[in-house]
């Protein structure tokens, strides 16, 4: 199943073709094809264990697909995973910054690895924007989960990537910071950059995503614009639940 979204004039920035990942006897992702166009705020939705994280890992070259292929920004993720990671920003769901670097040092480290000029100024902007400048000299191991998430968010966007892939973007943020981040993501997409988020928090997806796909037990159940649901006066959560429940009983 494959549906191209947004207007045909915009170029496809991320494309998965028949992508599968098998871990032992588990089909984590099962022949999924999808395409995301430039400027989209794309939400990959699914219950726990549906294959969302594996999908992001494959799209960023962190794990190899068992079969199928994917291109990100025109690069084959299997052939050039480092090239892909150089171009995109990634926030993994469970990863935390290195324990013995301070927040400031971690952004300096990311800047040095990514060869970002004036990383100092950019880092300062992020400390101010996400309101954690008072923690910049604290070792990452001593930061709260929320502050670590802020830092991971900053490292993913500090080089202003054309595409950012975020696994559960708001999970550790307080309501105020969630609002700040949602606004930032929406503005970022308006600038023509693309955001690919994976989440099981449907309210967030409905609020900020322009397009979405639903994954269940590794299978792609649906993909389409959020606007289609709005036009039918249907909420994403009810649509999602009916689709997933139907698939469970299938």
């Amino acid at each position: 199943m494959k549906v191209c979204l947004e207007s045909e004039q915009m170029s496809v920035i991320l494309e998965a073709k028949d992508l599968s990942k098998v871990y032992g006897e588990v089909n984590a992702v099962n022949h999924v094809s999808l395409a995301v166009k430039e400027g989209a705020l794309f939400g990959l939705l699914g219950p726990n264990g549906s294959g969302k994280t594996t999908m992001i890992k494959m799209l960023t070259g962190q794990v190899r697909p068992t079969s199928g292929s994917a291109t990100v920004l025109g690069l084959d993720v299997e052939k050039d995973p480092v090239g892909v990671r150089a171009q995109v920003g990634i926030i993994p769901e469970q990863e935390t910054p290195p324990s013995f670097l301070t927040a400031r040092e971690y952004l300096d480290f990311v800047g040095a690895v990514r060869k970002i000029p004036d990383i100092g100024e950019k880092a300062d902007w992020w400390f101010d924007f996400l309101e954690f400048g008072d923690k910049k000299n604290v070792l990452c191991k001593d930061l709260s989960r929320g502050t670590r998430q802020k830092l991971m968010f900053a490292q993913a966007f500090v080089h202003e990537p054309a595409l950012a892939l975020i696994d559960e973007p708001l999970i550790n943020f307080d309501p105020i910071m969630q609002d700040v981040v949602k606004d930032y993501l929406a503005e970022y997409a308006k600038k023509g950059k693309t955001i690919f988020i994976s989440t099981h928090i449907l309210e967030v997806a409905e609020e900020i995503c322009s397009e979405f796909a639903i994954l269940h037990k590794g299978n792609l159940l649906h993909t389409g614009p959020v606007a289609d649901l709005t036009a039918r006066d249907e909420h994403l959560s009810s649509f999602f639940l009916s689709l997933v429940r139907k698939d469970r009983h299938a």
Binding site: K57, V82, R85, I90, P92, E95, V113
Partner: protein, 468 residues
Amino acid sequence: MLDLFKNMVKEEWRMHSTMFGSLSFAMFPVMIFGIAFMSSFLLPLLRTSMPAGNIALMTHASFLMLGFMVGAFGLLGNEVMNRRFGQASLLAYSARSLPLSGQFIFSNFVVKDLIYYFFLWVFPFGLGYILASPFIGVPLAGALLLLLTLTLSFLSGLCVVFFLSTVYARSRALLWLLVLLLGAGCGTIVAVTGTNPALFFPPLLLYLSFSYPLFLLTCAALAILFAVSVALFDPQETEKTREVKNSFAPLLAKFSFLPNPPLAAKDMIDLYRSGSVVGQTLFSFIIPLAVIWFFLSLLGPYLPPHGLLFMFAIVAGVIASTMYTWVTMFDNFGPYACLPVAVSTLISGKVTTFSLLQIVPAVFIAAVAVLTGEAANLVPAVVLCLAISFYAAGVMVWLTGLSPNVLVYDVKVLVIYLALVGLALTIFTGIAFASPLFAIASLVLLVPAWLFIRKAKVKWDAVDPAGF
């Protein structure tokens, strides 16, 4: 109360069997048993060239080392477990969620380590010897006594490391004072009695001449060390929030001549701030080597002239190669997966940091050469030590990539490692014994070391980076 202990044992087993597969991990004690059983048949041969007491001494020294290693690994701390195993959460770090004191959990953790590793290493070794004993003319009582005294050796290493590391966590000055006192004590024994202090190692004394008073005294000493360690253990120590000045930028500038300067700078900060560079140098390098020196020096009469220094350089080289585990212990690939860093680049970075750390064994062997009046052999001894270290590390990198700690119990990997490193050790021990200057020929080992690392990069780039 027993529940915590039982679950910790289950957890340890599941952690290992998840990493290596149940069968592969279960084969590990079988392999130890097989090695002990088969090598027991070499004893009659060895006895023709070396007194039985010295063979016993080496075996006890090995189990003392094993205790040191297990103790050091047990105390790597929550941070290392988190970094290595991602989201793995262990019962040892559950004092905040369980209605149990940190001390109680720590005691269970130590006893679990003790029993678990006893059945993993000590018992299979002893059993191999016990079953072989009827065929090699060793009385059963002697074989059983060896199992007991090896257990005490293992316990000694474990308890000493637990004790020293809890002291270290409280006061570094006190630790240094203790180490100095220990060194001075050994020096005094040598000066006053003219006897090697290793000969006063209680488990060895018990093996050579068993007596109940000494046995009880040894057990009491170990129990006291354990009790003091538990009393000194402070789980709150790690809870302090640390704010530090930026060291990354200056280090990055200093390391600009190296390949992958950001990775080297990060590794150095990890080692320094985690206390590893001091703690590991002390617990995993200097103390084990100091103990080995005392034991090895007893073999002096059976070695060729200058043989002791070169034998020591080789052992130091093998131990120095484990510094690769120091630089990988705080990382899995996870934190780098969101950056444009390939596994091969990370391996290069770790090898660079490992190379920087080799200054420690180089200085150490140079100091030993000077202090033992063998300054003339300083250069070949240092070259031999470093060449062995790089070679063994190269093999380790090829076999285990970024996970040398977690793969050590994979029987297949361990057998290949032992065969490849054992071969090089045998050849270069012979060469160095033939003439000290020939030891410089060990530089040739850098070629296979380089090839192993090159192959490792290709091999590990082709595999999905392992998480937990």
